[in-house]
Amino acid sequence: MESKKILPIFSSYKTNPVFYDEIFKNDKEIRDTYGELFKLFNEYKVDDFKLLNEKAKLSFLNQGITFQVYDKTTVEKVFPFDLFPKIITADEWDHIESGALQRSKALNLFLYDVYHKKQIIKDGIVPIELISSSENYLDQMNGLEPPGGIYNHISGTDVIKHSDGEYYVLEDNIRCPSGVSYVVSNRVALKRAMFGVFNNYPTCPVANYSENLLEIMQSVKPAGVDIPTCVVITPGIYNSAYYEHSFLAKSMGIELVEGRDLFIEKDFVYMKTIYGPVKIDVIYRRIDDAFIDPLEFNPDSVLGVPGLFAAYKKGNVTLVNAPGTGVADDKAIYTYMPQIIKYYLNEEPILNNVHTYHCSRPKELAYVLDNIDKLVVKPVDESGGYGISIGNKLTKEEIEKVKAVIKENPRKYIAQPIMALSTHATFIDEKQCFEPRHVDLRTFTLLGKDKEFVLKGGLTRVALKEGNLIVNSSQGGGSKDTWVLKR
C-alpha cells in the first residue's frame, strides 16, 4: 500500500524494542490508527514541513502563548509544539477516562476524610505519618465543609504507556494543574496548519473545556447565592502560567483578577470595578495555598487577599481547588492510591499504579540505596520535575550525592522503577526529520456538585532531548495535539 511506504522525513526513524512505539509496530509497519495520517504527511516535502512547523511556532509567539522558566534569568519561551498528533482510539480513551475519573473521585473522598473523621487512618489503610509530616496538610481546613463536598474540582492525572502497552499513572496533580490552555491552542494551531486533516479523523472537540469548567464552578456556589459571580485569580504577569490564567478567564467570559483587585468586607469578597464593588462567590485560584491569605498563611505574601480564608471558612465564597488539597497529591500518597480507591469506592483501580518504594521504610530504603542506578528518585512534595534524578543517567559521583541526600531526609523521597515511556514520532529541527521521543499524557478531570467531566483529549508532553524521560515544560519538554477519536 502506498500509505505504508516510509517517507523521507521518516527515513532515519529507528524504533527501540525496549519502548512501546505508538506509530510503528516495527521498523516497517505502521499502526492502523495512524495510516490515514501518514498518507497526508506523505504529501509534504521536508521543506514544506519545515515551513509549516515554523508557522505554527510563530503563531504561538504572536498570540503570546508563552511560559517562563524559573531560573536566574526570566525568558519568555514558546512551548515547543509538534505537528504530529497523538491519536487515541475510542476504546482506549474510555479506559483512560473512567480511570482518571475514578481516581479523582477517590481522592476527593480521601480529602474529605482526612479533614474530618480520618477513618481511613483509623482503619490502618494509610499511616498517620503521611498526614502529620506533610507540609501541605492545613490544620485550618479541619472540619470545614466545602460547598458540594468537593475539594479537587480540577485534577490533572499524568498517564504513560509502558512497554507492555498498558497505561500507568505517573502522578495526580490536584493543587493547580496547568496545561489545559495548550490543549486548546494546540488544536487551533493544528487546524490552521493542516487544513482538512480532521475530515479523515472524527475527533472529539476540546474547546468545550472552558464552558464545562464554568458550569463546575457555578455548581459549587456558596449557599444562598442564585447566580454566582466567578473570577480567576492569578499571581500576576510574572507567573509562568499567566497565559493560561488569562486564557481561562477569557474563554469562560469571567474576570481575571489579582489579589489587589479584591477586598474583604464583613467576610464577603468584593471585586473593585469602575461601577463600584461587586460581590464574588466563586474563585478559581491559581495561587498556591501559602499565598492566598497573608493573615492566615505566609505573612509575606502580597499575591493573596487578606481575610480571604475567613470568608471561605464562613462559607461566603468558594475556592477552586480547595486549600489543603496538596496533602493528597503528595507522591507518598500516590503509592496508596490502589488501596484508597478500593476503600472509598469498593472498586478495583482501572489505571495501573507504578510500583513505588518509600524511603521512609527502612527495608525499602536499603533496596533503594543498593539499586539506585535502576530507579527514578523523586522528592515527594515538589512539582514541575524539579529534584528528580534518574538512576541510569547518573555518574558514580552523582549517585553518591543522591544517596547522601536521601539518607539525610528519607521521608522526603520515593523511588520508582525507571518506566519505559512510550515513544512517538516527533519532528526534530536540527536533523530535519522525525525521530522517536518519549511522551506522556496529562488528562484533565473536573468534579462539581452532581457533575463530572473529563476533557476528551489532553496534553501530550514530549521530551525533546534524545533519550530524555522528563517531559515537564520547565525541563525542556514540548507538546503535541491529542486526538480522541469518536466512535
Binding site: I121, D139, K314
Partner: protein
C-alpha cells in the same frame, strides 16, 4: 470562687508616611469556655471605623479593621468584662508516664491530636538538643510536665527585647533569654518531643499579682494528659494556668495566636505601642449570701 475581670487593651500605631490602605486583625477577645464567661466586649478605633467581627483559621473571634481614610496614626481600644472560675485539676487521675506512653503512642490518640504533636518552625528543637529535658518514667505525666514547667522557668531568663517574633529555638537555647512566647515555644517543643499533645495559648494575665508578662498579651501552654484532659501550664511563672489566666485563643505556635496582624501598604517606619490593663475583683456568686452579709453588717451597727 468566681472572679470578675475588667480588661482594657489599647494600641497606638503611628506611621512615618500616610497609609492609604490597611487591614488590621486583632485576636484579643477572650473566648467562652468552661472556666470563663465573656459578659461584654467593646472594640473601637480613633476613626470610628466600622469594625468587622470575624474569625481566624481556627475559628477564634477576631476584629478586623479597614479604615476608609488616609491615616498616619490610629488608636484601637478594646474593653472586655468577664467572669472567671477557678480551675481545678484532677491531678490524682494521672498515671505514670511509663503507663501513659502506651496510650500516647497508640494510633487513635495520634490521629486525634496530630495537629498538636508536630513541630513547627518555631517549635523545633535543634537536632543536637533533642534530649535537652528528659521525662522520668516512674513519675506521673502530670508531675513530669510540672517538672518541665519548672525547668523552662529556670533555664530561660525573662528579658524583654532579647528575641523577636521569628526567633527559633536554636538561637533561644544559646542565649537563654526571652519573653513569654519563647518560654512557651520551648515548653511546646519538649512536651511534643515526648508525644504529649501541646498547644500554644494566648491570653491575658491578672495584674494584681506581680507575674512575669502581665503587662503584655501573655502566653502559656495546654497539654493533653490522658485521663485528665487539657491542662494549662505557665512556664514563664512556673505555675499552672488558673483563675489568673484568661484565655483568648490557641494554636500550634505564636503565628497562630498573634494578637495583632496587619497588612499595611506604606513605606517608612512605623511604631506600635500597646498597653493592657487587667483588673480583678472577687465576685460573690450567691446573691443571698451577699444579702445575709449586708444584714449581718446592719445588725452589728
Amino acid at each position: 470562687m468566681q472572679y470578675h475581670y475588667k480588661i482594657k487593651y489599647v494600641t497606638h500605631n503611628t506611621y512615618e508616611n500616610p497609609v492609604n490602605n490597611a487591614l488590621w486583625q486583632f485576636l484579643i477577645e477572650p473566648k467562652n469556655n468552661d472556666s470563663q464567661f465573656l459578659e461584654t466586649s467593646i472594640f473601637n478605633d480613633s476613626y470610628n471605623t466600622l469594625v468587622n467581627k470575624s474569625i481566624n483559621g481556627y475559628g477564634f473571634n477576631t476584629f478586623k479593621v479597614t479604615p476608609k481614610h488616609q491615616i498616619t496614626d490610629i488608636i484601637f481600644e478594646a474593653e472586655f468584662s468577664l467572669i472567671k472560675n477557678n480551675i481545678e485539676i484532677q491531678s490524682q487521675d494521672s498515671k505514670t508516664y511509663k503507663k501513659d506512653i502506651e496510650e500516647l503512642n497508640s494510633d487513635p490518640f495520634k490521629i486525634e491530636y496530630h495537629s498538636f504533636l508536630k513541630d513547627t518552625v518555631l517549635t523545633t528543637l535543634p537536632s543536637d538538643k533533642k534530649n535537652i529535658f528528659l521525662f522520668d518514667d516512674k513519675k506521673t505525666t502530670f508531675e513530669n510536665l510540672k517538672a518541665l514547667n519548672k525547668w523552662v522557668f529556670i533555664f530561660l531568663y525573662y528579658t524583654i527585647g532579647a528575641t523577636n517574633i521569628r526567633t527559633e529555638l536554636k538561637d533561644l537555647i544559646d542565649y537563654n533569654k526571652g519573653v513569654a512566647k519563647d518560654f512557651t515555644h520551648l515548653f511546646c517543643a519538649v512536651a511534643r518531643q515526648h508525644n504529649i499533645p501541646t498547644r500554644y495559648v494566648s491570653g491575658f494575665l491578672n495584674q494584681d499579682q506581680s507575674y512575669f508578662g502581665n503587662s503584655e498579651i501573655h502566653s502559656w501552654v495546654e497539654c493533653y494528659i490522658p485521663n485528665i484532659g487539657w491542662v494549662g501550664f505557665d512556664p514563664t511563672n512556673n505555675m499552672l494556668a488558673d483563675f489568673n489566666h484568661i484565655k483568648i485563643a490557641h494554636g500550634k505556635d505564636y503565628n497562630d495566636c498573634a494578637s495583632l496582624k496587619g497588612i499595611i501598604f506604606t513605606v517608612g517606619k512605623n511604631t506600635t505601642k500597646y498597653t493592657v490593663k487587667v483588673t480583678c475583683q472577687e465576685y460573690i456568686q450567691d446573691k443571698l449570701a451577699s444579702l445575709n452579709h449586708i444584714s449581718a453588717y446592719k445588725k452589728a451597727l
